[in-house]
């Protein structure tokens, strides 16, 4: 979620620290920061991209939620916490009738009626706040609703009241003017949303409908409909602040491929209490930015959220965290987080009875509170302690033992280990939703993959300096309706075969794993992806000349293009009959050079040029190319 520093500041009297300090505070005590963006116009501001974890979507997909975190972490009081204020929604407006079909899918619906608003552009402060977090300003009514959502986390929607069918047109005495139904969509029902897209709804989806006309005017918790859109001509509005079931909204948004800021918040599950705060805040804001008069509210909230209490003791917390925190440390963490607990006089020593604030739906068990303590105290305060010696002897896993045995046997025989993909073009089991859709099957054997791998590697034989490419893989295959680990191998001189791992038996008398060698390599070196060229050079040098010395001279001429060199032939000869023939005076060395560039594909001409330089140099040294 995008969080504006200037917006956060509105919750505090004392100036907040710089953005880096804010970012660190959140990183080490609350959430990962995925990015920081600087906004220069119209005023300097920073926007943090906060990765709110799924357990905190209830309260932290809002500036107020992040401000609360900052307040706890930095131990800076909030100027005002809007969710701690006591609010009232009055007067009651009896001309709106609400009907909720299924109270499990809509736990609360608050409607507010405002008359005489003047729709127009938003004031600068409102527009700038929304634009800073990447929202487009639409008009003062829509912006007010969006602002409150990003401020408190409660999604809101405004309908143009004049576009709803009213009963008064039929002049029925005493009947209520507006009927709002929260119901499942009807078979074949369609809706055109605010962005002019038409969606075909299914019966499992929840809609807001105009009870008088019977038409859907919004997809509950996802998006509003075009029918009752607020426009410049709008004067009377009905505001919706509701609580929809997270699972239902999630399924609908997924099915329609329509994820919105509203659906994202409902999906997490939010407190129905929040609907009241959202309504109060948005109506107050609308009066401020668009004028008008509140006519009244209706609030359908049959089963209010019950207050939760969780107890945690000091010793319990220390037992899990491995700390030696005192009562004071814990009290401090709870106070900073705004988690009210019963005074120590009222509870047994060392026990904290916490009254969970309504918006913190993530707090349910003592461990949840321990996490709150740990992150506010700071994870750096958790000591590092090795486990005590184990009372049992660890078991040897026969499968892994066999894998290790197989691995070592094959490596000893010169096979190198590869992993190929489990995905294949054919097989018994198919993956239904593979990204890209290629190779959707699970492999039935290792041999197909090994054959491909062999072919690929044979091309690089010279580069690798191998006489023969030999590969093996220990991996899972799906065959004959079962999952099985097999050992596959292939070589240039042998066909690909695979054997069940069970062929490699474990020593039943083994008391531990065999002490097999680890890779001794310290660093991997990237290799060139370009093709290479092989050139051989053979030359006579005086006896006593080391091959390494010759190679040094050669390499120095090849401008780092020699990626591999191998001495593949050596022989000595006498200096000819004139010298008696017995004493060996010169040696012939033959080298195979592999030339390759990191930047491009080498051409034959380039390789020739390199070799010419080499020949020139060795001749200069008095060596004689053969």
């Amino acid at each position: 979620m995008k969080v504006s520093q200037n917006w956060l500041q509105t919750f505090f009297t004392a100036p907040l620290p710089d953005v880096q300090a804010l970012s660190d505070a959140l990183t080490f005590h609350a959430f990962e920061i995925e990015g920081i963006e600087q906004v220069r116009h119209p005023m300097s501001n920073f926007v943090l991209d906060v990765k709110v974890t799924p357990n905190r979507g209830h309260d932290c997909l809002s500036h107020r939620g992040i401000a609360k975190e900052i307040s706890a972490i930095l131990n800076t009081p909030m100027k005002n916490d809007p969710l701690c204020a006591s609010i009232s929604l009055g007067p009651t407006y009896s001309d709106i009738s609400l009907y909720i079909e299924d109270g499990n899918l809509c736990r609360r619906y608050v409607a507010g009626y405002i008359c005489g608003v003047k729709v127009g552009p938003s004031p600068d402060w409102l527009r700038e706040n929304l634009e800073a977090i990447g929202q487009r300003s639409i008009n003062n009514i829509v912006d007010a609703a969006n602002f409150v959502m990003f401020n408190l986390g409660q999604p809101l929607h405004a309908f143009d009241a004049s576009k709803l069918a009213s009963k008064s047109e039929q002049s029925t005495v005493n009947s209520q003017q507006f009927l709002i139904h929260v119901r499942n969509a009807k078979k074949g029902e369609k809706i055109t949303t605010l962005d002019d897209k038409e969606y075909a709804l299914s019966e499992s989806m929840l809609v807001i409908a105009d009870g008088n006309s019977g038409k859907a005017i919004g997809i509950a918790g996802v998006k509003g409909g075009k029918t009752a859109e607020v426009s410049e001509a709008t004067t009377d509005i009905i505001i919706e602040s509701a609580n929809f079931d997270g699972v239902s909204v999630r399924k609908t948004a997924q099915a329609l491929k329509l994820r919105t800021d509203a659906s994202q918040r409902f999906e997490q599950g939010i407190s129905p209490e929040l609907a009241g705060y959202g309504m109060r805040a948005v109506t107050d804001l609308i009066l401020k930015v668009a004028g008008g008069e509140i006519i009244g509210f209706v609030d359908e909230y049959p089963t209010p959220q019950t207050a939760q209490q969780i107890s945690v003791s000091v010793s319990q917390a220390n037992r899990i965290l491995g700390t030696s925190l005192g009562e004071k440390d814990i009290a401090d963490a709870f106070t900073r987080l705004g988690l009210p607990y019963k005074s120590r006089e009222a509870t047994p020593r060392g026990i904290f009875e916490v009254a969970v604030p309504f918006e913190r739906l993530d707090l349910a068990i003592p461990e949840d509170l321990m996490e709150e303590i740990a992150r506010i105290v700071g994870y750096d305060k958790i000591p590092s302690a090795e486990l005590p010696p184990f009372s049992k002897k660890p078991e040897i896993n026969p499968n892994f033992y066999a894998e290790e045995r197989a691995r070592e046997e094959l490596i000893q025989k010169g096979y190198s280990e590869v992993f190929t993909s489990v995905f294949a073009e054919k097989g018994e089991r198919e993956v239904l939703n593979k990204v890209g859709g290629e190779k959707p099957f699970l492999r039935a054997n290792l041999t197909d993959g090994l054959e491909q791998a062999l072919e690929k590697n044979v091309r690089n034989k010279d580069l690798l300096g191998l006489k023969e490419v030999k590969l093996f893989e220990i991996g899972t295959v799906w065959n004959s309706k079962k999952e099985e680990i097999v050992v596959g191998r292939i070589g240039e001189k042998e066909k690909a075969t695979q054997t069940p791992l069970s062929r490699f038996k474990m020593d039943t008398s083994a008391s531990g794993y065999e002490n097999l060698p680890l890779s001794a390599t310290e660093r991997y070196r990237p290799f060139s992806k370009y093709p290479f060229i092989v050139r051989d050079i053979a030359l006579w040098v005086p006896s006593g000349t080391e091959s390494a010395q010759v190679l040094d001279v050669i390499s120095a001429q090849a401008s780092n293009l020699v990626v591999r060199s191998e001495l593949f032939d050596t022989f000595s000869s006498g200096g000819g009959s004139a010298l008696g023939g017995k004493k060996k005076t010169r040696i012939s060395y033959a080298f195979r050079l592999v030339l390759q560039s990191f930047e491009k594909t080498l051409t034959d001409e380039e390789a020739n040029l390199v070799m010419e330089k080499v020949y020139k140099k060795v001749k200069k040294r008095g060596w004689e190319p053969r």
Partner: protein, 280 residues
């Protein structure tokens, strides 16, 4: 000239698993394995990942055509029907503890689970659809978050700062011996969220000292997720969460290998390319 067969090369992932197993075996951990084709129950539900909740989105899953076994009740079928490629090694925690309880063996438990896992996402230098994880689980009456820190510190220390293991055996890789100097490994936690741990943390590691590749020296590296096993997970497998508690962690082995050897592209692991493998 020489007739002796030269040794082939071990895949870096296998070497790393071998080394990890050695370290953890010494600390009393048993290596266990589990199937790659998993049921939704073991991969998600038993791990306290609710259905139709955003926390399932944290892992992009490969789903398979399911085969409902009519002989079992629906719940049993759901529990055992392979329905997906496991997205993490954590289902093996559940399978292991469940099996132990069925055998009448109560905690303490200490296990590690190295193995392949799958994520249905586009691949690039840092992401693969199939990769390896190592899971660790320690359950007992007094296993703490501090023990998690200590255990990880020891593991990372053995992996990243143990002294040079001697000469290089691989082709053309003259090991440039870095300067000496004491090395030490620090572990730090950051808050995080996983449905199967509470508290949940993200573990970072930093290697300091002379004997450290420059890319790693002094820098904090993200290693993976960890935390204290959620009581619901313990209860789901029949372990009394009032009496027992424990830690769990899950790290990407590919990532550990990339850090250890300075490998720049995760896709090399499954490339079956000896230009890569033969360096190890």
């Amino acid at each position: 000239m020489e007739t002796k067969t030269t040794r082939g090369h071990i895949h870096p992932i296998s070497s790393l698993i071998r080394e990890a197993n050695r370290t953890f075996f010494d600390m009393g951990f048993t290596l266990v394995e589990g199937p790659l084709l998993e049921s939704e129950w073991y991969n998600f539900d038993a791990l306290n990942v609710p259905k139709d909740h955003p926390s399932r989105d944290m892992q992009d899953t490969f789903f398979l055509e399911t085969q409902i076994n009519a002989e079992h009740s629906q719940i049993d079928a759901d529990k055992n029907t392979p329905a997906l490629l496991r997205t993490h090694t954590s289902p093996v925690q559940v399978r292991y503890m469940e099996t132990q309880i069925k055998k009448g063996i109560k905690p303490p438990y200490r296990v590690i689970v190295p193995g392949k896992v799958f994520r249905n996402e586009a691949t690039d230098m840092g992401h693969e659809a199939e990769f390896f994880q190592i899971e660790g689980l320690a359950v007992g009456e007094d296993v703490t978050l501090a023990n998690l820190k200590g255990t990880l510190a020891r593991f990372f220390h053995e992996l990243f700062s143990a002294s040079s293991k001697g000469g290089s055996s691989s082709g053309g890789k003259g090991g440039s011996a870095p300067g000496g100097g004491a090395t030490s490994v620090e572990v730090r936690f950051r808050p995080s969220f996983f449905p199967f741990t509470e508290p949940s943390v993200e573990a970072d590691m930093r290697v300091v000292g002379g004997h450290v590749p420059e890319k790693l020296r002094g820098k904090w590296m993200e290693m993976g997720g960890a935390g204290m096993v959620h009581p619901n997970v313990l209860e789901n497998v029949g372990v009394d969460s009032g009496k027992y508690q424990g830690f769990a962690f899950g790290f990407g082995i590919d990532r550990l290998a990339m850090l250890k050897w300075g490998i720049d592209d995760i896709r090399l692991m499954h490339s079956a390319d000896l230009r890569f493998v033969n360096q190890f």
